[in-house]
Symmetry: C2
Subunit: 166 residues, 2 copies
DNA sequence: TATTGTTATACTCTATAACTATA
DNA sequence: TATAGTTATAGAGTATAACAATA
């Protein structure tokens, strides 16, 4: 449990980190803005999935997800096949072109980070990544979940595998 | 120096942290969006300054700064007095109402963070804040500065006091 | 001429609400 | 009735470019 001044400082740094994110955004290919890149990254990491699952991983409303997905589908980077188990749903999957685009994204972001963090040790990068991951977990899925009381201890534990590894 | 996979993971977490920022944004007062809050916070922390300095601290273009400043000025939270040293400039300063608004912002963000990070130790919060601050520094002022070569070693060191403590 | 700041325009991201198709 | 997904609309943030006033 920390003091108020510490929280204010953390809040300030959370705001300031926006500059880093904007800098990362500037190196993206012209027709692949941040939203598209996030879709490709998550599909590359977790494999095929439905819209609802992707929206959960992105932590945005499904309407937003729908737009991003339409964008990458228009460019042939993913395919949307019908879900045999539920005709309302569609299965999203990277195409070969999508994998190539994702490789290009990885190269660009890794190159930028390697340049900017050239004086960071392997361990420091790992520490920051770990703490940011934990921060994300501590905030949980704040869009849909009740402010602070999980439905049941059981389903909560079950959901964790679904909602933590973003 | 870290490996590519580590950079990709860090990039992923930088993207994911957006959910935390959006969550913080949701608790702001209706007429005080994030941009306004950032202006008030920086004026509260560093005292009166000119537009150009504020734009630098915000790490955004001055045109963006101008809009945010106009918003908070319209609400009486800051005053813009002419700069006697340069008639093109204006000095920005928090008003009493601005200080009150800033206090309200601090209360809200601290309350949210205290709730979400209730199981974090004081030290862990400090570690994350420190690493995020350093990350911000490592990216430097990427908008205006040359990609990787500071003008002169001398002026670089001088500027650090101005541009680091964001 | 160069710089400070403002305004107009355009683009990205997000959320809410209305709508459809299916469960 | 409820859920999966789409689309329309609106609001916030940002960057570029054109502009005015001053250095």
């Amino acid at each position: 449990m920390a003091e108020q001044a510490q929280y204010e400082e953390l809040a300030r740094q959370l705001t300031a980190i926006g500059a880093v994110k904007r800098d990362m955004g500037r190196i993206l290919p012209p027709d692949c803005p941040g939203g598209s890149a996030a879709v490709l990254t998550l599909l590359g990491r977790y494999g095929e999935m439905r819209m609802s699952r992707l929206a959960e991983l992105l932590s945005v409303d499904m309407s937003v997800t729908s737009r991003h997905v339409a964008h990458v589908a228009d460019r042939g980077w993913i395919e949307r096949s019908p879900d045999p188990a539920d005709k309302r749903s569609r299965i999203l999957r990277l195409t070969a072109a999508g994998h190539e685009q994702l490789d290009e994204l990885s190269r660009r972001t890794s190159r930028l980070l390697a340049d900017r963090l050239s004086d960071w040790s392997d361990d420091e990068v790992g520490q920051l990544t770990r703490l940011m991951t934990r921060l994300r977990e501590s905030f949980g899925d704040c869009r849909t979940a009740a402010p602070h009381r999980p439905p049941h201890p059981h389903s909560y534990a079950t959901e964790l595998t679904t909602r933590t590894p973003v």
